[in-house]
Amino acid sequence: MSIQPEQLKYCDSHEWVYAPADANGVATVGISAFAVAELNDLVFMALPSVGQKLAAGQEFGEVESVKAVSPMYSPVSGEVIEVNSGLVDRLDQLNADPYDQGWMMKIKMSDPSEIAKLMDYQAYQKMISQHG
């Protein structure tokens, strides 16, 4: 798997989702390079369990950096079918590669039409350039 940021859709809370047409309704989720830079010096991460059902916008995990705990939100609804459990052993991978090695979970989407409501790469870049 090789995920490029230009291929992704984004939430305003900085999660990305990768859901190509040939993925049979499975979406891969992570957080953007911008979010990783904001988080700076990650020390803890909690990810969901396989089988957990999530609604779009619901918390799926948490991270701690510099004594601040921040939630991560699922961009789409569905059931968690795989978690990148190796990532919590190598948080430095998020800094090196938030889009490929840094994926966090895969969701079997219950409503793939939710993808269309998210920002594309250009819109996301515009958002972070306006507010960053």
Partner: protein, 256 residues
Amino acid sequence: MEISKNKALLVRDSARTGIDNMRIDDCLLQRAVPEGPIVVRIYRWSEPTLSLGHFQQIEDLVDDPAGISQPSLNRLPWVRRKTGGGAILHDQEVTYSFVIPASNGLLDKGANEVLYRAVHEAVRDGLIRLGLEASLSENCTCSVAKKSGSVAKKSGDEEPFLCFQRRTPVDLVVGAHKVLGSAQRRTRTGLLQHGSLLLRASREFGALLGIQDIGKIPPEFLWEEWLIDRLCEGLETIVPLNYEVLELKDFGYLLR
């Protein structure tokens, strides 16, 4: 940090249990509304209580030097904070919290170090005026994370279990003694920051000295009022504020 409305509510609360204190801080965060006021709360604890950082496990205290040297810590009531960092022994201290409502979704991840620094510098300057040699630590005991399972865990032997035995660069110290530490939680509704100003050493853990153990300050000194003023000074370096003083009973939903 965008703060959309320059109104602040000041709440001087009473001493409460750990569970109630953390529940109230969490409620203030969850009930924060866009364009709403900043809520600043000052409080104490009705009994010596350990509050654990969000990702800490109480079992990790057993093997920590603090737990070995002072096993009574293991017998104290404890509560888990929604914020990060190490465990705090809340006893001879004044605690503060404030909630800043979110004004947009952009800044909902990561620590807001501007806020840490603004508050800690205001308290530092106040302590200096009281004759104490206070400064920001500018040191860090941050450890490399060690993880297991689906939750990353820090190695207990790399960083002390207790917050006041750790150092981050913005922690406030007087000489070798950390006297103020703070932590944050961010949600879609806003940012919660709370922190502890250590006044005196606790009988439960005498190694951690407080301000009144170090400086010559009258025992009747009104720390709550003093800390409220310092918090306001710190926040006003970021945004001018208009204050309204309330009691917690004015937030009835928090007490139900």
